[in-house]
């Protein structure tokens, strides 16, 4: 056992740091650091820079263009990029669909979709949730019926909470192909749907902090070629579960916690609270939680170290990481004090920052706190994660 990172790991950290410093455009960095809205072009710019360097898809195996990093390198990369003010990698094509296609896709599907995902030419929407199927995804009711000639599925249903659908040209969806299956988890298939198909409409949903990155998708007799089925018919549930495991690991967001804690310290100084004992004690407490979380992440993610199933460990990191991040965001509001009161949807964009009633560093603090409520809801709510952890724990002991 050893507390320090190795020299090679430190060298890697410096390499990442130098890369971000050299390449990340200043306006994107500023947006991230001030908690402002990022636009599609911002993500694309950054993703393309990463891809040029071969760093966009760390979770993919080298034969599909991954850099072949171990878990410590991936960890260092996340931390360094986020601390340096780079956008988070939010593209579900890269983080969710990619690994599923690599594991279960046909050679054709891999050849057709993976290069476009890596080049950010195709953005994918995650079409899982429905109005009646949130935490209980096995309740999806969107149907896909195979036409008699066996060439197309006809899809009907209503997906909801589809992140960034407005930027996406393709969707991967869970659909019901066998309504008569004995158990709800059976008879579900995993389907790739062209978002420009006739019969598919997208409606934005306005969120309470003013954003419109979530959408509803209505599917009305949408025809999908049969070669867009991933894996076996009716076996989509297992691919969905595989995918959600991948989603959860990143959601712990330790890099984001560190970034926000740094922001908190900076804002505290700016607001004249550098010597405020109550606040400084709270920030120190966060520091302790972060050390515990980071050590746990590095310990559990190390090969052969985890004692339980990886999915449960990911759930543990997600619960603690998201709740810590939310607590830090709440503290940012407290640090802002009365400056958290003004609220402007426009001033969350860099171009309108000077119209705000408070300093640039404070305009988005309240919106960020509200927006951060999502991290304990999406990717499986924290209540559901705790259920999973409890089930695994109680069965073991």
């Amino acid at each position: 056992m050893r507390l320090q990172f190795t020299a090679a790991e430190e060298a890697f950290r410096q390499e990442v740091r130098a890369f971000v410093r050299a390449k990340l455009p200043a306006d994107i960095k500023r947006k991230v650091e001030l908690g402002l809205r990022l636009e599609h072009a911002d993500y694309l710019t950054w993703f393309n820079l990463l891809e040029e360097r071969g760093w966009l898809t760390p979770g993919w195996p080298p034969e599909h263009g991954g850099p072949g990093w171990n878990h410590v390198q991936r960890y260092i990369f996340d931390e360094e990029t986020l601390l340096a003010g780079a956008p988070r990698i939010i593209a579900s094509g890269i983080q969710m669909l990619g690994p599923v296609l690599i594991a279960f896709g046909t050679p054709d599907q891999k050849a057709r979709y993976l290069p476009d995902i890596r080049a950010s030419r195709t953005w994918w929407a995650q079409g899982f949730s429905e109005p009646g199927a949130g935490s209980d995804l096995a309740a999806v009711r969107t149907t896909a019926v195979l036409e008699p000639d066996g060439k197309h599925f006809v899809v009907n249903g209503h997906k909801v909470w589809t992140s960034y659908a407005q930027w996406c040209s393709m969707m991967f969806a869970l659909v019901r192909t066998d309504p008569t299956a004995a158990k709800p988890q059976e008879g579900i298939s995993f389907l790739l749907i062209d978002m420009k198909s006739p019969g598919l409409t997208v409606r934005p949903i306005r969120m309470l902090e003013g954003g419109t990155d979530l959408n509803e998708c209505f599917l009305d007799n949408v025809r999908v070629p049969v070669e867009n089925l991933v894996g076996e018919l009716h076996k989509g549930w297992s691919y969905g579960k595989y995918l959600l495991g991948h989603e959860r690991t990143g959601i712990a967001g330790i890099g984001s916690c560190k970034q926000q804690l740094a922001r908190a310290r900076q804002l505290a100084a700016q607001q004249g609270l550098a010597d405020d004992a109550l606040l400084q004690a709270r920030l120190a407490q966060f520091e302790v939680e972060l050390i515990a979380l980071e050590a746990t992440a590095l310990r559990l993610l190390a090969p052969g170290q985890g004692s339980r199933t990886p999915a449960v460990e990911a759930s543990m990191l997600k619960v603690r990481g998201t709740e810590l991040r939310q607590a830090i965001y709440e503290t940012l509001v407290d640090i802002a004090g009365p400056d958290a009161l003004p609220f402007s949807t426009e001033a969350q964009f860099l171009e309108h920052l000077d119209e705000a009633a408070v300093a640039p560093e404070l305009t988005a603090v309240a919106a960020n706190c509200l927006d951060a409520r999502k991290v304990s809801i999406y990717g499986g709510t924290n209540e559901v994660q705790r259920n999973l952890i409890a089930r695994a724990t109680l069965e073991v002991y």
Binding site: L208, L341, L370, R373, I377, T381
Partner: protein, 368 residues
């Protein structure tokens, strides 16, 4: 202690409830008000007698006290309504009543009570957070009266008020002036607030005032503290009302939404969260009573301590309730369409007004 309400109290509460049901339909609570809605509701509140509730009967008010204000504020909080009620009636109105000469009171209080005009206390300044005791805004004597120079920030409902009560520094200490918003040199920069309401930063540039615009230079600090405490007590009552609405909405949601083949209400972890919410609500109601009774009793040292304690609790438990309720509503809770998030925003905003939890906690600590 006696928490009993008499028949007049019950009647007041019922009247405000009926008003809120009419003016704030459940599906629109928390939406920004149109100018017409704001006018209509303000008129309605005047008609109910709310705008003169704590103001002296001799000047158009109904001479009621903090308990009546609490009852009204709690109902307004439940409906996310009330507009400038706390800012104009409770804080500015009571400060005018405390500091004004009979002529000044006659000039403004009846107009406040009848809803003809709104007033707002201009007290905060840039970089001072919640400490208003050392303003930089300068009041200088001139041959004809006074001149004001400086800037006030976060004046709640500052762009609908036609009269500002401005806290200034004069050669002899704190002074309060009544300044028309239309006075030359006064510039109002209005903005939206987190809770869908309005506030303003206000510049005072070489604003010339007649002597009759000075409210007082003596006893100013105590009067401001008393008015602010009355306002904070009302905010605590609003918090209790808002959380009451959140609990009702959550119970409804958990009973009707099904996942895994059962209503959410069947999941024990959610039951426990609701239990915590119910406990917080009862304590919030108690704290609203404590603050109101302390304001009503009027003994300054005890009042300040108890009002601060109530505000700490309201800031913390209010925000906690708002955020927990979003979580229990899932993604739906984060949408603009769902009312829960609007309550959460109001509760966060109340937490950051008139001294946040940390500010009042320090105050409690200092009076131990």
């Amino acid at each position: 202690m006696d928490f009993a309400l008499d028949d007049d109290h019950l009647a007041l509460r019922e009247a405000v409830q009926r008003f809120c049901e009419g003016e704030y339909p459940a599906q629109h609570r928390g939406n920004p008000e149109s100018a017409e809605q704001a006018r209509q509701r303000w008129k309605g509140m005047a008609k109910l007698g709310l705008l003169g509730l704590p103001l002296p009967a001799a000047f158009g008010g109904s001479g009621q006290g903090a308990i009546e204000v609490m009852l009204a504020a709690q109902e307004l909080g439940r409906a996310l309504g009330g507009g400038a009620f706390v800012a104009s009636t409770v804080i500015a109105g009571q400060l005018l009543a405390a500091l004004g000469t009979p002529e000044q009171k006659l000039q403004w209080l009846p107009a406040l009570a009848s809803g003809e005009m709104q007033a707002a206390l201009a007290i905060a300044e840039e970089g001072q957070r919640y400490d208003w005791t050392a303003p930089r805004l300068q009041a200088t004597r001139t041959p004809r009266g006074w001149e004001l120079q400086g800037r006030k920030t976060f004046v709640l409902h500052g762009d609908s008020a036609s009269l500002f009560l401005v806290v200034a520094r004069s050669a002899t200490g704190l002074a309060v002036f009544a300044v028309d918003a239309a006075t030359p040199g006064v510039r109002v920069h209005g903005f939206d607030t987190l809770d869908g309401r309005r506030a303003a930063h206000v510049d005072f540039e070489a604003v010339t005032l007649a002597e009759a615009r000075l409210l007082a230079t003596d006893g100013v600090e105590d009067a401001i503290e008393a008015a602010l405490d009355a306002g904070i007590a009302a905010l605590c009552a609003e918090t209790a009302g808002a959380v009451e609405a959140l609990l009702a909405a959550t119970v409804d949601h958990l009973r009707t939404r099904k996942q895994f083949g059962a209503p959410l209400a069947k999941f024990q972890v959610l039951q426990h969260r609701v239990a915590d919410l119910a406990i917080d609500l009862e304590q919030l109601k108690s704290m609203a009573c404590v603050a109101a009774m302390a304001v009503a009793a009027g003994e300054p040292v005890q009042r300040r301590r108890l009002v601060s304690a109530a505000k700490v609790f309201a800031s913390q438990a209010g925000r906690r309730a708002g955020l927990a309720t979003i979580q229990m509503h899932g993604a739906m809770g984060m949408t603009d369409e769902c009312r829960v998030g609007h309550y959460a925003k109001r509760l966060i905003a109340i937490g950051q007004q008139a001294g946040d939890a940390a500010f009042h906690l320090r105050h409690v600590l200092a009076t131990n």
